[in-house]
Amino acid sequence: MSETMTHDTHHDEHPSGIKRWLFTTNHKDIGTLYLWFSFIMFMLGGAMALVIRAELFQPGMQIVDPNFFNMMTTLHGLIMVFGAIMPAFVGLANWQVPLMIGAPDMALPRMNNWSFWILPFAATMLVAPMFMGDNFMSGQGPAFGWTFYAPLSGQYDKLAFFVFAVHLLGFSSIMGSINIIATILNMRAPGMTLMKMPMFVWTWLITAFLLIAVMPVLAGAVTMLLTDKYFGTSFFDAAGGGDPVLFQHVFWFFGHPEVYIMILPAFGIISEIIPTFARKKLFGYASMVYAVASIAFLSFIVWAHHMFTVGMPVAGELYFMYATVMIAVPTAVKVFNWATTMWRGSMTFETPMLWAVGTVFLFTIGGFTGLMLGVAPADFQYHDTYFVVAHFHYVLVSGALFGIIAGVMYWLPKWTGNMYNEGLGKLHFWLTMIGMNLTFFPMHFTGLAGMPRRYSDYPLQFAEFNQISTIGAFIFGFSQLIMLYLIIKCIKGGEKATDEVWEGSHGLEWTLPSPAPYHSFDTAPEIK
């Protein structure tokens, strides 16, 4: 998006070309880097998903061998979570948080650069072992699932690369989060009290806290794996007095807050978009803030709902069941507030609004299947089947990813100064919507019928549903090229955007010119 940067009124040094991107301390440049990195990872992870779906088009082994299939499921999950979704949200935070709170830049700009520039190295470390085999198909990438349970992951030959990749990713996330918290708490324009902050800023404040709390725990988990394999410790080895189940506890103590890390900023984006296109204030702002805070708190005390079948004491099963279904309460508060915001609004359905409404609708389906999974006795049937796969894709694809796309469409005119092509935007939305549901809705049925997840082959009776899923996945995957085209076209030119961009827009970012100047707020605006 470099072409769109306007003049710069300051006498700063401005390296050009590659150096600009390598050395930058500017929140917009860094946001752009994050977003493009995320898009590349999205394409890579997506290609892996299509390998999985192509293999599962028919029963029997068709295209890849089982180890390669396992590598694909593992890397697809890891790349989407750590490479696509999380960096996209950090990119949005980088672009938007200073604009929305009236700050000149992020609080710690050099560290901001470092947070980003660790990511490409971490991704390289993660994927590199795939190319270390004698030939591509026998590559030695990780093949133990994105949750890397011990002791299976301990048998992986190139475990150290995986462990250090996770360390680097964690390092990047922690620094990024520290920066976001310091920016939000320290850089707000005078008069912007906490309870006047835009919802997107609120959700990121809480997400950043979650990240700082749980990424170190993940680092601890992989460190224990590393020492168990290479240095003779026995954390996860029963013969030495350890316990493989301990791994799952440590992992999910990170893992459940992690899923909220991936949805809360999307909630924030939706809460910005719906009021704009309903031309009403967000209904129940304060209750939205408290709901996000309660979800974040609850997310720390429900982790073992991923482990109902490992053989916990019954008291544990009951506790984790009740705690889990309690999350439905604050989540429902949010969904009702969005619906009430739309109620009797003067609604229009520009592309960002389509994505936002689509998110509310489909995320809610994912929330309901979550509730079903949260019921411990029922989960014995659902666990490790495609039902779980359906659940987490409804919350992650049509929650997190749709939220990200909604935000990109919503703010793109502010970033580039140009309107995107509304026709292409709508086409992209509807094709994605159709593809997404074709892919994942049938998985509810295959899962309930007992098809286990993470297998490269399956019995004949699941064939029809799997074929529908595969067709949907290819529609979904290739429609994303429309988004790429739309974004590039919008960067290159198009109808000029006004400063407000949207008729009903609200908030500080819309008081700046479009495209937003290189340095956001030189003098802090006053908030009444």
Binding site: P15, T25, R110, W117, A160, A182, A213, T233, G241, V250
Partner: protein, 293 residues
């Protein structure tokens, strides 16, 4: 050359972060390549890792050097100072959570995993089918007697002395802070010197204790669950003491050069907070790792 935006200092583009990334990549990638493979030989040697650490060291000198220069030149206003303070606070919180993972592992093994291996609770089958001979006990190296019989490190020898050392160092660093506030340079320098010295003495005692454990007690990193938790917790703590002592050493050297003033001494406070954090972790270790065995 500075560009202040509304008074807030936004630094110029910098090559230090990407240098740091390259350093991290070489250090971790080099280490990974030097670890043994199933096939036997590692695919690399430790040279790449050392090169990575060298790059990291250069980066730290350069980056912190720049920050110190900017600070001395008065480019940071109070708001920038607050950003640094928040940054350090949340960084320490992340460190707390890192230790929490290992303390959590210790509690889980002691409270749940070990009794279950001995047949308690509803996980009887592991005991019945795999380890019927095993009776739960702590400290343990498991039903496999992994690493062979060992003895534990008693709390009232070196560990108790080390506790005293760290508590004293908490006092000396506070005394140094008082010196700084009173503009008494001598007290500042003396206090810091004592703190750094106590820190390194602690590390020395810890090293001595490890040698004793390895050669006399047969307590090793591979001594089952007890050895794992003992060495990982105390080892990471020792590493943090070393880092904290180096931070304080830098602050000491800067104090001797006349840096810091009564109201402008973020680096001192950051190092002091870190030091107190390391101190508190040690108290947890002393109680749960050494004392309550």
């Amino acid at each position: 050359m500075s560009s202040t935006h509304g008074g807030y200092y936004v630094p110029q583009p910098s090559h230090w972060p990407i240098t740091g990334s390259i350093g991290l990549f070489l250090a971790t990638g080099g280490f990974a390549m030097a670890l043994p493979d199933k096939a036997g030989d590692p695919i690399g040697s430790l040279g790449v890792m050392y090169a990575g650490f060298a790059v990291l060291a250069v980066m730290l000198f350069g980056w912190f050097g720049t920050v110190i220069k900017e600070s001395q030149a008065g480019m940071y206003n109070d708001q920038v100072d607050r950003s640094f303070r928040m940054g350090m606070t949340w960084f320490i919180f992340s460190e707390v959570m890192f230790f929490a993972a290992f303390f959590g592992a210790l509690y889980y093994i002691r409270i749940f995993a070990d009794p279950w291996l001995g047949g308690a609770g509803n996980n009887l089958s592991t005991h019945e089918w795999l380890y019927p001979e095993y009776t739960s006990h702590w400290p343990t190296n498991g039903p496999g007697n992994v690493g062979g019989d060992f003895q534990t490190m008693g709390p009232w020898g070196i560990p108790a002395i080390n506790t005293l050392i760290l508590l004293c160092s908490g006092v000396t660093v506070t005394w140094a802070h008082w010196g700084l506030k009173k503009e008494n340079r001598g007290q500042l320098i003396l206090g810091l010197f004592a703190t750094v010295a106590l820190g390194f003495i602690f590390v020395g005692f810890q090293a001595y204790e490890y040698i004793h454990a390895y050669s006399d007690l047969n307590l090793k990193l591979n001594s089952g669950a007890y050895g794992s938790t003992f060495y990982m917790l105390t080892g990471f703590h020792g590493l943090h003491v070393t880092i904290g002592a180096i931070m304080l050493l830098v602050v000491l050297l800067r104090s001797m050069k006349g840096h810091f003033s009564e109201e402008n001494h973020f680096a001192f406070e950051a190092a002091a907070w870190y030091w107190h954090f390391v101190d508190v972790v040690w108290l947890g270790l002393f109680i749960f790792v050494y004392w309550l065995v």
